[in-house]
Amino acid sequence: MKMKMKLNKIAITGLFALSLVACDITTVDKSALSPALALNTTAGVQSAVLSTYRRTAEFDFYGQQANLHGDAFADNIEIVNRTGRYEQEWVNGIGVYANRWAVSYRGINDANYVIEYLPKLKLSDVPSSGTITSQQVLDHLKGEALFLRSLFYMELLRVYAYSPGKEVNGFNLGVILRDTPTEVVTDADKRARSTNLECYQFVETDLLEAINLLLPASAIGAAWPASLGTNTFPFRATKAAAHALLARHYLNWSRFADADTQATTALTLVPTAAPVTAAGFVTAFSTATHPESIFEIEIRATDWSGVDGANNSMNSITTNMLSGSQYVIAASAELIAAHEATDVRRNLYINTAATLNKPQSRKWPGEKGAFVENIPVIRRAEMYLIQAESRARQNNDAGAQTAVNTIRTNRGLAATALTGTALVDLIMNERRVEFALEGFRFYDFKRLGQDITKPAASGVGTLSYSDFRVLQQIPNDQVLLNSSLVQNPGY
């Protein structure tokens, strides 16, 4: 039968065709590249820098917790809505706060990739502009990575380690230091903590190098090569920001003379040195870019998924301005009482039935809409108060008065003529009032080795500096995983 033969032939041909179909099992991940490919252009390296910036806005970093824990651990806040959030922090519960570890090191790894791959770029491929050379572009990007790496290490050190010279029972461990990226599994070796002094020196070295590499605020902005997109002060690091961060670092280290020098230099490098005036103080916090910012993290609505703002923004946690807010934290009675009579900073707090009759802060008013706002990380006021404190602690009362009065006169207060300990106390109170809900309060006690005062409403009394809870617990799973990693005492 001819027909049959034909069918059979077709069938057999068909079968072979089937079996020969694609014997290829290679696939390609279209969503990503290898690091070597991804970072072989200047734009690619810059995108890695921008990733590092973006990490600083995460909710367990400056996006929320790094700005609020420092107040909750000390005496600046009261829990107004009992949702469970910040309640343990408020009473200094044991091991309530272990998130800073992983997020910081992810940022550090980002920065380490930049530092590793940046030298592999060919200078001739690096864009330049009329005023900025290719080398300056490279230097600036590296300076940014060093600046950001320092920011993460400083945040780790203030949470997990004593300041050098302020050790309790001689416990002098810092954190784990990494300055190269994790590219293969063996890079993720199990390391021990360096000493706090080694860590502080590491950060100092990084920031000094960053100061040399970074462009001043005046040289970026429009001058930045157009092909690399936006680089605008204060949203990216500048020479001023690196000086300012180093000032903060020296203050944490109680190296007051160096702190003063760095703060002073920072103020000479910013476009406008003066702090905002008394009249503009409250509105400065509802201005998209805080006029005092030396370094500020920019946030856009697109950075958050639908519920992030309501669940986690500082606006949601500290106010009930929008429907769906958490409104967990109000100012403590003690913080309100710390304001002098004419202090315009008192006007940040609204106390009405709508705020459940608690002083509700307007420092985080979500001015960009739907809980969104930028996060000032370093403000000019901090530089003045670092100058003031450093000078006062070095018995330069006149210099200290000049600096603190620059702030006081711009906050609706009379200039002070106090001296000695009284002046130091006044400056510390200025810091408390000025930086409320910016995360400094607890660490101002800690860096000085002082006992931590608590609000009466918390029922905790004073937390002794020697109490082990002054240092936070290193995540327990990390200690279990890495036998070289020594847990903080008491945990």
Partner: protein
């Protein structure tokens, strides 16, 4: 009458082997069923000791030429007892064949073929289509729940059309998938591609009424032919095929209701306001604030609203289907269509499906057979937010919503929630409004279709080709209209997704019987599979009117995102089977597989299995034991693999952060510039996870098959686990995929069945199965003894790590735990928590009773599991002694109030943190919220009545049956949540269930008509 297609294949073999023979006379007759006297088509009629044979025609008639000397005819047919009849001098031999309750001659589907159950050497559990027929289920996995030993099926959601977890012989993987490989008519299904807007099921496109049988390949011997995809078991779903004979039509319709059951008993307005007043007073807060926020308990006019009643409902469900099947000598077909809908027991949750199928087989020539199984389905799911502490999910908020807040305004619109202090609870989300107005719609057209060719080169040697595809192209719409206050302006998210998984194979089959002694069969083949998934998520905000729903109507542009994944596998395989005298049977399988998911030099792996069976009853020395119908011993051993991990884990990926789960990208920019970061640390050495499976079993049938069953022991060791090996997080990387660690699963699978009573027309059958499971983590990477508090060597791979709850201190109303030293404590340190129980059941099974009397049939089916604990996350919200803004269980009224009160409910205290001590111990949960999740459930009762043929023949019908049935009618459990069947959704979070969608109670009535 089953497996007609297979019978046809056999018959083809028979015809071909009917070579010329000395034929002297003709014998003919009719073969009928002893059950109903109807003619049996397709019965094999063979002259013993020869290759002379025939097949009965449509009416059961046969005709055969035999030698003048006569001989013995062997009549055999699937599902019936084989008969041997001496011809003698007769020219007409009519035979009545009886059903074979032993099912020894039953044919089961195996990898790339079929086998008689009698000669199986591996472990294959099987469910026939009649068990699935007309049961109001949406997918076949629900139908096999409790029916098969060693196969644990649990709901992951009660959403109509929702997903289930199927686990074959335990849980071998920690980070790779534990889902079995589902194969429908040869098509290896994709695991993904379902709607994102509610739980949905990968098997959802297959109408259970189209299914002929489901076979679960449980051990290496039966599944090793699938090599690297087989470690989690392989489930073969075979759809119905047409049968030779006149075209038959069957129509089924049923309708019923789905009802909620065992919901939490919540406080009314008065009770709630009283708790809040007390909590505020105890915490030193103003009771006036409590009154203004939650209502004043002293107010005689205080309102009370039952949110649970607002949210739950009795849903409707219905199924309508039609099938036509038939065929002639060359072609057979099955054509079916169905429409099914089901509303959930919660408002705004429903599912609809339409299916169409054409299965067709055609003998093009004597040697060439072609066939196609084509199915089209369209599913429409309106999903619920469930399985988590979601304030916009009804299973959380229906219970937590404050009873003193009216869902409605006096004008009948939706109120701002809660009415006294809008925004102060549940993010101001009025759950009734939210669920009524939010659109969560998933629409998925899908085809699971295949095409095949078989060419018989010489008798016994067949070359076959196969191509199949599982393709779906879905669209999900999530509209959050601006009428809901928190979504001011309105939001729309559209996900357009596609999944295409196709596989082809070519096999060469050989089967040869040498005399009556040796039976050899073998198979070699090559297979290729590729799966590609992709999609685009786009969203737009700010709409002029909620009725305008297209993206183009929104004013605020939102970023779009795209995903794409693909993977490919190929394998070369072979199998040899040898049976000596039908008594000693040996089987060996080998497969080499490659997968795109592994490192450059580690893509390929070799897998194998061997098995032996010994049918003792075939021995002559057993002939005296007439009560013993069958006794078989089986052993098997093999190594198979699992590659079910993410597609590109071997590759170190530097990229932009992935889009968030809602489809809105998070963190993809800074200052308007794109960002790049390490997305994944790759490991170019990763390769197959391998599972060594050993099993031994006994199958038996006694007393004329009044009692039959099997006992089997298995011991499966999974090695080189595809493990997320933790790295120190100070490296900036949390984990890397590696091959490390071992897990063992072992236990017994026991199946028993029997005829309890068979008197007159009354018959009572029982089938039961029970499986035990011991699951244990044997080793971890780097010889670690534990990883955090989630994996500990020597423990099961899923456990509850909790503080030991010690009750409420009668002196002050504070919750206490026992610390490591056994002392009472108000707070716990890490060291005080320990393993308190496991989510993994130690045993599970089912028990089915079937009673029949004349045309009446009653099935009563129980399903059970036990030995597992569950941690009920709902209690965090509901068992909190009025400490939060959530409504509370009525049980909270028993809170501590005065020194000396002995109770399990802490002192009411706003915030729940008394003197700095969290009453719910925030770091770990306590055993207070853990309970025994063992349960026995009356899963199904079906009462059906077949109208007698005397009546239906007058109506010119073939069959009429009416039935009523109920599902999930009764449950016995000590579990303190809603449904012990839906308890493992939040594994890894330490919580077994939180806001889960429970299963519904269903009542149905229906009719089935055949003509």
């Amino acid at each position: 009458m089953k497996k007609i297609l297979l019978v046809k294949i056999f018959s083809v073999l028979m015809l071909i082997t009917s070579v010329a023979w000395a034929q002297d006379r003709t014998v003919s007759g009719r073969v009928t069923s002893a059950d109903d006297g109807s003619g049996l088509p397709g019965v094999n009629v063979l002259l013993r000791g020869t290759e002379t044979g025939s097949i009965t025609d449509v009416d059961g008639n046969y005709r055969l030429s035999i030698p003048a000397s006569g001989g013995t005819l062997i009549f055999s047919f699937v599902g019936f007892v084989t008969q041997e009849v001496a011809v003698g001098s007769r020219a007409v031999i009519d035979v009545q064949m009886a059903s074979d309750v032993t099912q020894l001659s039953e044919v089961v589907v195996t990898g790339y073929g079929v086998q008689e159950k009698r000669t199986l050497t591996g472990s294959i559990a099987s469910v026939k289509g009649d068990v699935l027929q007309n049961v109001p289920i949406q997918s076949v996995d629900r139908g096999i729940q409790g029916r098969l030993a060693g196969v644990q099926v649990s709901s992951s959601s009660g959403q109509p059309g929702g997903a289930l977890n199927v686990r074959v012989r335990g849980i071998g993987s920690i980070n790779a998938s534990n889902d079995p490989l589902w194969i429908v008519d040869g098509v290896q299904l994709g695991r993904f591609g379902q709607s994102t807007q509610g739980s949905s099921n990968p098997l959802g496109s297959i109408n259970p009424n189209d299914i002929e049988s489901v076979e679960v390949l449980k051990d290496a011997a039966s599944s090793a032919i699938y090599g690297a995809q087989a470690a989690n078991g392989v489930i073969l779903v075979t759809t119905k095929k047409g049968k030779k004979g006149r075209t038959r039509l069957e129509v089924n319709a049923q309708y019923g209701t789905a009802q909620p059951f065992n919901l939490y008993e919540m406080m009314n307005g008065q009770q709630f306001a009283e708790m809040k007043e007390e909590a505020y007073r105890n915490a030193g807060l103003s009771v006036n604030t409590a009154y203004s926020t939650f209502g004043d308990p002293n107010d005689a006019n205080l309102e009370s609203h039952d949110w649970v009643n607002e949210m739950f409902q009795n849903g409707q469900l219905g199924t309508y289907d039609l099938s036509m099947s038939g065929g002639d000598d060359k072609t057979s077909f099955l054509f079916s269509g169905s429409y099914q809908f089901q509303e959930g027991q919660i408002i705004q949750s429903d599912w609809q499906r339409g299916t169409a199928r054409l299965n067709i087989t055609h003998k093009a020539t004597d040697k060439l057979t072609i066939g196609a199984n084509i199915s089209l389905a369209y599913q429409r799911t309106f999903g619920s937010i469930a399985n988590g502490n979601f304030v916009n999910g009804p299973f959380q908020a229906a219970f937590t919503a404050q009873p003193t807040s009216n869902p409605y305004t006096s004008q009948g619109g939706f109120s701002l929630y809660p009415t006294r202090a809008p925004g102060s609870h549940l993010f101001g989300y009025n759950i009734k409004q939210g669920v009524e107005q939010e659109v969560r719609l998933g629409r998925t057209p899908q085809t699971v279709s295949s095409f095949n060719l078989a060419y018989e080169i010489i008798p016994g040697l067949t070359l076959a080709g196969f191509a199949g595809v599982d393709a779906s192209f879905g669209t999900d719409n999530n509209q959050r209209p601006g009428t809901i206050p928190v979504f001011a302006g309105g939001q729309m998210v559209v996900v357009s997704r596609r999944t295409i998984a196709w596989n082809t194979n070519t096999t060469l089959n050989y089967s040869k019987k040498i005399g009556d002694i040796h039976q050899i069969s073998g198979l070699v083949g090559f297979e290729y599979r590729r799966e590609e998934r992709g999609g685009v998520t786009a969203s737009q905000f700010t709409y002029p009117n909620p009725a305008l729903t297209l993206l183009s109507s929104g004013a605020t542009a939102r970023p779009a995102s795209e995903f794409y994944f693909d993977n490919a596998r190929q394998g070369l395989f072979g199998q040899v089977k040898y049976a000596l005298k039908d008594r000693y049977i040996a089987d060996f399988t080998l497969r080499r597989d490659g997968s795109s998911r592994f490192g450059t030099n580690s893509k390929y792996g070799t897998f194998y299995a061997g098995s032996l069976a010994y049918r003792i009853t075939e021995e002559s020395f057993m002939d005296g034991l007439t009560w013993l119908d069958d006794l078989k011993i089986r052993v098997s051993y093999g190594k198979i693999g699992n590659s079910d991990i993410n597609d590109y884990d071997w590759f170190t990926a530097y990229g932009s952060p992935a889009a968030g789960s809602t489809g809105i990208p998070a963190g993809a920019q800074y200052l308007g510039g794109s960002i790049l970061r390490l997305a994944r640390l790759g490991n170019d050495l990763i390769s197959w996870e391998s599972e060594t499976q050993a099993s031994a079993g006994i199958d038996f049938a006694l007393f004329g098959s009044r009692l039959r069953g099997s006992f089997e022991y298995y011991n499966n060791l999974t090695e080189n686990l595809l493990f997320d090996v933790p790295l120190p997080t100070d490296s900036g990387v949390g984990s890397v995929r590696g091959n490390s660690g071992e897990v063992v699963n072992r236990g017994f699978d026991i199946e028993l069945g029997g005829v309890v009573m068979d008197k007159g027309s009354f018959k009572w059958n029982i089938t039961a199965n029970v499986s035990t499971l011991h699951n244990e983590l044997v080793s971890l990477p780097n010889n670690q003894k534990r990883i955090g508090n989630t994996l500990i060597v020597g423990e099961p791979i899923s456990f509850l790590y909790l503080f030991d709850y010690a009750g409420i201190n009668p002196a002050n109303g504070k919750a206490m735990i026992y610390d490591t030293l056994g002392n009472l404590s108000y707070s716990g340190a890490t060291r005080d928590a320990a393993v308190r129980g496991s989510n993994i059941p130690k045993y599970f099974g089912g028990l089915s009773n079937n009673f029949s009397y004349k045309g009446v049939n009653l099935e009563v089916f129980f399903q059970f599991q036990g030995g597992n604990q569950a941690f009920n996350g709902d209690l965090y919200n509901l068992y909190a002694s009025g400490s939060s803004a959530n409504n509370q269980l009525v049980s909270q009224l028993a809170r501590w109030q005065n020194p000396g009160d002995v109770t399990n409910v802490a002192r009411a205290y706003q915030g729940g943190v008394i003197d700095g001590f969290d009453q719910q111990f925030s770091t770990f949960g306590t055993t207070q919220f853990m309970s025994d999740a063992s349960y026995v459930r009356l899963k199904q009762i079906t009462l059906s009545y077949n109208l007698p043929s005397s009546i239906i023949s007058k109506m010119k019908l073939n069959k009429v049956s009416v039935f009523v049935q109920g599902l999930n009618l009764w449950t016995y459990t000590k579990f303190d949540g809603i449904d012990p069947e839906v308890v493992s959704n939040n594994n890894g979070t330490g919580v077994s269930s939180f806001g889960v969608y429970p299963v519904a109670k269903q009542f149905m009535g229906g009719i089935s008509i055949g003509l």
